[in-house]
Amino acid sequence: MVCRNTGTAMLMLLEAFRDIPFMVSPKHRHDVLHQQFLTAIKSLGVITVVGLFTGMILALQTGLELRRYGQEVYIGSAVTVVMLREMGPFMTGLIIAASVGSAIAAQIGTMTVSEEISALEVMSIPPARYLVTPRLVAMITMMPLVTVYTNIIGVVGGAIVGQTQLGVSMTAYMDNATQFAANKDLYVGLLKSVLFGIIIATVACHQGFSAKQGAVGVGLATRRTVVVSFLIILTVGYMVTRLFYQ
């Protein structure tokens, strides 16, 4: 069951990748832009709050520990490195999966149960090309952008806690951050965000296409999208970290 689902999802993903040139051509670009807009804009509010508090929590936790050794200023690098490598892409992935991924599954699921997918098939418009490719492109391009935004907000959150709770000035915080955070941290994080984007688009579309008749079927597809995306994001996140830092 799991194997077969993975197989069909992979085939769908390959087909969607193959059709990227077609769907980004001027005549069809509109569909892609629309999806990019939805992906980036829909969750910006939540992302801001989550990013801010993630940075603040990281700063507070590490800051209190470091204060015992008089090294509070190191929260600059601690927050920045952890945001870039792990928490930025991770938090962004979870939120986008829960908001955009579930919306994709609900939309495609509704189309599946209301004969709209059948209509596309009869018109010999491949559903993977028309529905998956724009969402995949949107995820691949927007996830890194939103992740960078999350990172920035998180670092700012850390700085605020540093200034108000730990007596670390903004300049000291930023000096410390830029001294220790490497480009590699940013790149590994962005790689993760791209992978997470592919995971979310694939799981959401595949669950949508597999939705069974009725509103219950659509609800189930939505729920599965969130749970399955979370699990795969966690696993893949660990594996990428393992690959680049050991």
């Binding site: 005549k27 069809h28 939309q107 509704t110 189309m111 209301s114 004969e115 709209e116 059948s118 209509a119 098939e121 009869v122 018109m123 010999s124 418009i125 090309r129 028309y130």
Partner: protein, 254 residues
């Protein structure tokens, strides 16, 4: 043109089609009637391979659609237009974009050309002013007419209509009937129409088939159909107050 050869199909544990055997000829309007759940939609879906028979074959001309795959299947499907029972419009596209979608995705036509063709087809279904509307703003009957415009946008040689007039007012229903007739007479289109509406069936059908319990219980011309001795057909006729040939003629001339 379209031939069912001993087609059987089981769905949800029930035999929906039981060794169905019939042929639809070129340039006819073949009407399928029958109670709800008789398998009318299931029959239509077999013609474009949205469903595959458990046994038997569905032939389109000399091609076997029930075994085709890939590009071969696409080529066969491109000969069809399909009006779904639920219209099956894409909810996030405007009416104009819905109707033009097949042209945009499958041809090299420019957007302006496509829009012009779309307007032309919308005129044909009396929806000339709906181009920029969203499907959610339309009534069920209007949605169905948009679905019809989309089905004919590629000028297909075979059009399948799943209950084209259900949910439509009588006047609009007759407009759709005339459109179906005109497509056959002017453009030589072959049509298969699934309907509950016997008046419509008798008016536009060149032949009428009655589906009951997974079997075709009657295939005949409208004239023969109203005189049928078959008990199931009689029951169906009487339920729609068509009891004798005389009365049907009355309703036709009035």
């Amino acid at each position: 043109m379209i031939r069912f050869e001993k087609v059987s199909k089981k769905l949800g544990g029930r035999v929906v089609l039981d060794e169905i055997d019939y042929e639809i000829r070129k340039n006819e309007t073949f009407v399928i009637v029958g109670a709800s759940g008789a398998g009318k939609s299931v029959s239509l879906k077999h013609m474009v391979r949205l469903l595959t028979p458990d046994s038997g074959r569905v032939m389109i001309g000399d091609d076997c659609v029930s075994e085709a795959r890939g590009q071969e299947l696409d080529r066969m499907r491109n000969r069809f237009g399909f009006l779904f029972q639920s219209a099956a419009l894409l909810q996030w596209l405007s009416v104009g974009d819905n109707v033009g979608l097949p042209l945009r995705m499958k041809t090299n036509k420019r957007i302006e050309e496509i829009d012009e063709l779309v307007r032309e087809k919308l005129e044909m279904v009396n929806l000339g002013d709906a181009f920029d509307k969203q499907p959610a703003e339309l009534s069920g009957g209007m949605r169905k007419r948009v679905g019809l415009a989309r089905a004919i946008i590629t000028d297909p040689e075979i059009i399948l209509y799943d209950e084209p007039t259900s949910g439509l007012d009588p006047v609009t229903s007759r407009t759709i009937d005339r459109l179906i007739d005109r497509l056959r007479e002017d453009l030589g289109v072959t049509s298969v129409v699934v309907t509950h509406d016997l008046h419509s069936a008798l008016a536009i059908g060149t032949r009428i088939a009655m589906l009951h319990d997974g079997k075709i219980v009657e295939v005949s011309t409208p004239e023969q159909f109203v005189k049928s001795e078959n008990e199931i057909v009689r029951g169906f006729l009487e339920a729609q107050y068509i009891t004798t040939r005389g009365e049907w003629e009355d309703s036709e001339t009035s």
